[in-house]
């Protein structure tokens, strides 16, 4: 099964069009007989300037894939590149700097530092790095996200949707090579969720950013350019210009396979870090 992944990978673009790349990426938890593979020799290319969604049922390894690509987690085997930089084997300090300077993050919840106001949260990665933000770009991001009159507010004074917009602004502010969004709409009502997805879409279309979003919501995935489906730690399918219905259909097939391989699949889901 793993042999076919190369063909399925979206690596058709030219090398300089690749934002991130993984080869034979394997992540195992535990060791020996009890070892469980969260990722099993995954090959994947993330195209620059596109909105990629990663989907899969609970325990499919989609969050693990994101964590490994983003330099948050170590890999058991294989290689990962961000642009031309191989990040597997980098030291903690180098990984930290890489995340700070070249990657933007959005998490499902608890995205903001409660003691800092919106403006301070947005520029935090650059402040940490001791860099001056590009004010023109920053203004553009803030205005695009409609945060102008919320900049002095603390996170506790913002609604969930507003908080995610601030997180989105922070991810964009330093114009990173790649933005990872982990279930960014998971804690939002549908209207606020749609808003955030719209902003991510805009970030790709209007601002030329690259976004990778992990989600289990077919509706959210439908906003992307390409959906990668993960199952049991492998890339099992992908879908260009997805629609919500198409994604939903594809996901239903997982449920069928899952019930067929009940025992094995459940084992995997117990141990991955997936939180849904």
């Amino acid at each position: 099964m793993s042999t076919s992944t190369a063909e399925h990978s979206p690596g058709r673009a030219a090398a300089d069009r690749i934002a991130a790349r993984a080869r034979q990426l394997t992540k195992a938890y535990g060791s020996g007989e009890t070892a469980v593979l969260a990722l099993d020799s995954v090959d994947v290319d993330i195209a620059r300037g596109r909105f990629t969604a990663v989907m899969g049922p609970s325990g499919s390894g989609k969050s693990t894939l994101m964590h490994c690509l983003a330099g948050l987690d170590t890999v058991s085997a294989g290689q990962v590149w961000l642009g031309d930089t191989e990040i597997t084997g980098l030291k903690d300090r180098e990984l930290t700097r890489l995340r700070r300077d070249r990657i933007g993050f959005m998490f499902q919840s608890f995205n903001l530092i409660p003691t800092l106001n919106a403006a301070e949260n947005i520029t935090l990665p650059m402040d940490i790095a001791g860099q001056k933000p590009d004010q023109k770009w920053l203004d553009q991001v803030i205005d695009t996200l409609g945060l102008r009159d919320r900049l002095k507010h603390r996170p506790s004074q913002l609604s969930g949707g507003q908080q995610q917009r601030v997180a989105c602004a922070r991810a964009l502010a330093s114009r990173p090579e790649l933005i990872f969004a982990d279930e960014p709409t998971g804690n939002l009502d549908s209207r606020a969720g749609l808003e955030v997805l719209g902003f991510l879409r805009n970030a790709v279309d209007d601002l030329g950013q690259t976004v990778v979003m992990v989600t289990h919501d077919p509706g959210a995935a439908a906003h992307s350019d390409l959906v990668i489906f993960l199952g049991d730690g492998r890339i099992v399918d992908e879908m260009e210009r997805p629609t919500a219905e198409g994604v939903l259909e594809r996901m239903k097939r997982f449920d069928l396979t899952r019930s067929a391989f009940d025992g094995a699949a459940e084992n995997t889901s117990d141990v991955t870090l997936d939180k849904d």
């Binding site: 700070r100 300077d101 998490f107 520029t123 990665p125 940490i128």
Partner: protein, 856 residues
């Protein structure tokens, strides 16, 4: 429910560790001091009980001098013969034992203890009560032989055959050491020289027919008390002597020593008090934080049907367990501490044995009462708060309990208590009598401390905004986050800083008071001391007449004015009998001292049959110039003296004397005939330079290592050093307070780090380096510590200034604020903050990023 409590206790044992340590420390000091003083008391009770004669006849000690006079009171040696005839007496002995001596070796080095314990010369008379036995050499015979105790011989490297000089009141004499006597009981730390009985009377008392006491052995079957009555009837119908049974003698000897031991005991209890006080803050804080973290868990318990009482009881049971564990460990640590103190005493020459350690039943009782009591009281408020957690907390993503509660109550209570405290302090500054002002000072200190503790959280915002104000500019976003983290939970920051505040307030106050004392003494010395040099014993003990004679004969000495002290009781016109100590001076006092008189002059004060006293004291008791006052001196000598002058020095003489009485030295010589000089004020002869005279005096005084030559600067330094001793004690207390306060800061930071796990994970994910994270936590710690220091020092300064106002009534009129100390303490507190942050910061930086983000 108990099961849940136990589980929770065990689950949080790591977090309770620091609280337990605070309990252990306070209990250890309480238990240690009790064990130590019990052990010492029993050892000496035994020593005195075994060495006291069945009945002792001593000179009456009705007037005790607060300043040593160098005099030895005696009884006629012939009394021994009279008492021997009393029915029931087996034997009697005329003892000689004096402490007003100095023994030096051939290199003019003192062989006496350096610890302040006395050097005792006594007659060699071996009985079964003797605390020593002869272990080498032979008993002293004749005027030039002596024994030395083995401990002193060891310490000072004196061997049989060496020659020592004994400087006694009648004069110095040389002796050869012919034997060594070893203590068979506990050596209380003194140096002992034994002489042949006749020599002892001649050389130590200067009178072959006198003795310092008569010891009486009862015949078999005769009760001590009965014998005492018979002896009294036979020789003391007039009540001239002090006659004691063995029990009474042992008790009074123990009481004499008791003063010294009490000091140690009170110091130890002071440490315990500080440990308890600071520990309470730590425990309150720990329990508050644990409960805040467990809000959901407690809500779940409530949702499952536990009522408020059960929740409260559950928390209090945890506190009880903590108290029990802490007390048990503390008791063990206390035994260790006592053993250490006993070892320390041995180093000071007091040979106590750790094997004879006494752990009386009150010790464990006190240990558990303190340990469990403190924990219980400290946990009570947090427990009540826990009980108010609603069952809804289990469901809601609850706000951490305690953060949002308004501080209104604290503001109101804090300002009321604070206002009363400030009023008390203002009152003490304005008061005119020492007694009322010092009680107002005490009240003010306690109330302002309580008010600051209560209102501390309210001060967190404004003060940390200022103290951490430069952080964002200096350290960027890391600085900004650390400052805001410190502001995040004002209660917690306030309580953490309060622990540090208590200790530093104490130090601030004491250092202002002692700096003011030093400055006042300096001014006093500048104002009154006119002599070129003062010759004195290092610890103000009087010295032998030879010293005076040699100084007088020294080349270049122009004028010598002697000062002696005499204990006396004076009957005042208002009917009061005041026991005090008066000074006697040579007539040319004006040449060496500047004394201000309200009425009269030095010559009228020092004239024969006259005396002078402080004008305020005189007014208070209705004394006027020309009043004739009956005066009693030791040994039943009495006279009437006329008031010749009233001095106006603005301060009493200090040293526990009152009235500032002084007269001509002839009066002292007449009524305290065996007294010795306490100080010599020396002026150079015309044409002799100060340096030249100093060298000459130092050469003269070489054989008298106990006395030193001091000019004004040396004299000031001596006073400063003595005040510094007090400060060292305060610094030691501070050290302990800081150790516990650091535990508190560590505790707070550690729990905060746990609470902020997700936040830390997020920060790390978006690129905060480990080093930056550590710096963030360190800066938070520093700002909390500095906040506590500023608060404490501020409070301490106010206390110190008020204390100085109280002391001003006693003549400490100068106010000095030791800014260097204060700045050093603030800097030190920042260092304390850095140290406290080490572990929590390390822990935070080691967190796994992913696990931290996923943390619930």
């Amino acid at each position: 429910m108990l099961k849940a409590t136990l589980r929770s206790f065990l689950a949080h044992k790591g977090r309770l560790l620091l609280s337990a340590l605070a309990v252990v420390l306070s209990v250890a000091f309480v238990a240690g001091s009790l064990i130590f003083s019990d052990t010492v008391t029993r050892t000496f009770d035994r020593l005195f009980a075994s060495t006291s004669a069945d009945v002792t006849v001593e000179p009456k000690q009705d007037l005790k001098s607060s300043v040593p006079t160098g005099a030895t009171e005696t009884v006629p040696a012939a009394l021994a013969g009279q008492v021997a005839k009393v029915a029931g007496v087996a034997s009697t002995h005329a003892d000689v034992s004096v402490e007003n001596i100095v023994v030096v070796d051939s290199r003019n080095k003192s062989v006496g203890p350096t610890t302040g314990a006395p050097t005792i010369a006594t007659d060699w008379y071996l009985t079964d009560r003797s605390p020593v036995k002869l272990t080498s050499g032979h008993a002293p015979q004749g005027a030039s032989e002596a024994l030395l105790d083995a401990d002193t011989a060891d310490n000072k490297h004196v061997k049989i055959g060496d020659t020592l000089t004994v400087q006694a009141q009648p004069g110095s004499f040389k002796v050869q050491i012919v034997g060594i006597a070893t203590f068979t009981t506990t050596n209380p730390g003194a140096a002992l020289v034994f002489l042949d009985p006749a020599t002892a009377k001649d050389q130590l008392l200067g009178a072959p027919d006198r003795a310092t006491s008569i010891s009486v052995d009862a015949a078999k079957g005769v009760d001590d008390a009965v014998l005492k009555q018979r002896v009294t009837a036979a020789i003391d119908s007039a009540g001239t002597y002090d006659i004691k049974t063995a029990d009474e003698q042992a008790k009074s000897a123990a009481a004499d020593l008791g003063g010294f031991l009490d000091v140690i005991k009170y110091v130890m209890l002071g440490f315990a008090g500080i440990a308890v006080l600071v520990g309470v803050f730590l425990i309150v804080n720990t329990f508050s934080m644990l409960i805040a973290q467990r809000t959901r868990e407690l809500g779940l318990l409530r949702a499952l049907g536990a009522d408020r009482k059960q929740v409260r009881r559950s928390v209090l049971t945890e506190a009880l367990l903590l108290g029990l564990v802490g007390s048990t460990l503390g008791l063990a640590a206390g035994i260790g501490l006592a053993a250490g103190l006993i070892k320390l005493m041995t180093a000071f020459g007091m040979n106590l044995k750790t094997t004879e350690m006494v752990v009386g039943w009150p010790t464990p009782v006190a240990a558990y009462v303190v340990g469990v009591g403190v924990t219980f009281v400290a946990a009570y408020l947090p427990a009540r708060r826990a009980a108010t957690v609603s069952p809804m907390a289990a469901l809601a993503d609850a706000e951490v309990a305690g953060v949002g509660r308004p501080l209104k109550v604290r503001a109101v209570v804090g300002s009321i208590v604070g206002a009363i405290g400030v009023a008390a302090l203002a009152g003490c500054a304005a008061a005119t009598s020492t007694a009322s002002s010092s009680s107002l000072l005490g009240l003010g200190i306690v109330l302002t401390l309580i008010a600051t503790v209560i209102a501390g959280p309210l001060l967190v915002r404004p003060m940390i905004r200022v103290l951490g104000g430069a952080f964002p500019a200096l350290f960027g976003s890391v600085g900004r986050m650390s400052q805001r983290n410190a502001l995040r939970n004002p209660r917690r920051t306030g309580a953490t800083a309060a622990a540090l505040m208590v200790g530093l307030a104490l130090v601030g106050g004491m250092s202002v008071a002692s700096a003011s004392m030093s400055k006042s003494f300096d001014q006093q010395i500048d104002k009154t001391l006119g002599a070129d040099f003062v010759i004195q014993n290092g610890n103000f003990l009087p010295f032998s007449k030879e010293v005076t004679d040699h100084v007088r004969a020294t080349q270049g000495v122009g004028l010598v004015v002697r000062a002696r002290f005499a204990p006396l009781a004076v009957r005042l016109p208002d009917g009061r009998r005041v026991e005090t100590t008066a000074a006697g001076y040579d007539t040319p006092l004006d040449d060496v001292a500047h004394i201000k008189y309200a009425q009269g002059s030095t010559s009228s004060a020092l004239a024969a049959g006259h005396l002078a006293m402080d004008v305020d004291f005189a007014k208070k008791h209705g004394v006027r110039i020309g009043s004739v006052l009956p005066v009693e001196f030791p040994g039943g000598r009495t006279t009437r003296l006329t008031v010749g002058a009233l001095s106006d020095q603005g301060a009493s003489g200090g040293f526990g004397t009152q009235g500032g009485l002084f007269f001509g030295i002839a009066t002292v010589e007449k009524y305290v005939p065996t007294g010795q000089d306490s100080s010599l004020y020396v002026n150079a002869a015309s044409g002799t330079g100060a340096d030249q005279l100093r060298t000459a005096l130092e050469t003269t005084l070489k054989p008298y290592p106990q006395v030193q030559v001091r000019d004004q600067a040396d004299y000031k330094k001596l006073v400063h050093d003595q005040i510094a001793v007090l400060l060292y004690l305060v610094y030691a207390l501070l050290g302990l307070a800081i150790v516990i306060a650091v535990l508190g800061v560590v505790n707070t930071l550690a729990l905060s780090v746990v609470e902020r796990t997700r936040e830390i994970g997020l920060l790390r994910a978006i690129g905060l380096g480990r080093r930056q994270l550590r710096r963030m936590i360190r800066l938070e710690s520093v700002v909390i510590a500095v906040f506590g220091a500023v608060l404490g020092l501020g409070l301490g300064l106010v206390w110190g200034v008020c204390a100085q106002q109280v002391l001003a009534l006693q003549g400490m009129t100068a106010l000095a604020i030791p800014w260097t100390t204060i700045v050093a303490v603030v800097i030190g507190s920042a260092v304390v903050g850095i140290v406290a942050a080490l572990l929590p910061a390390l822990r935070a930086s080691r967190m796994n990023v992913l696990a931290a983000i996923a943390h619930e």
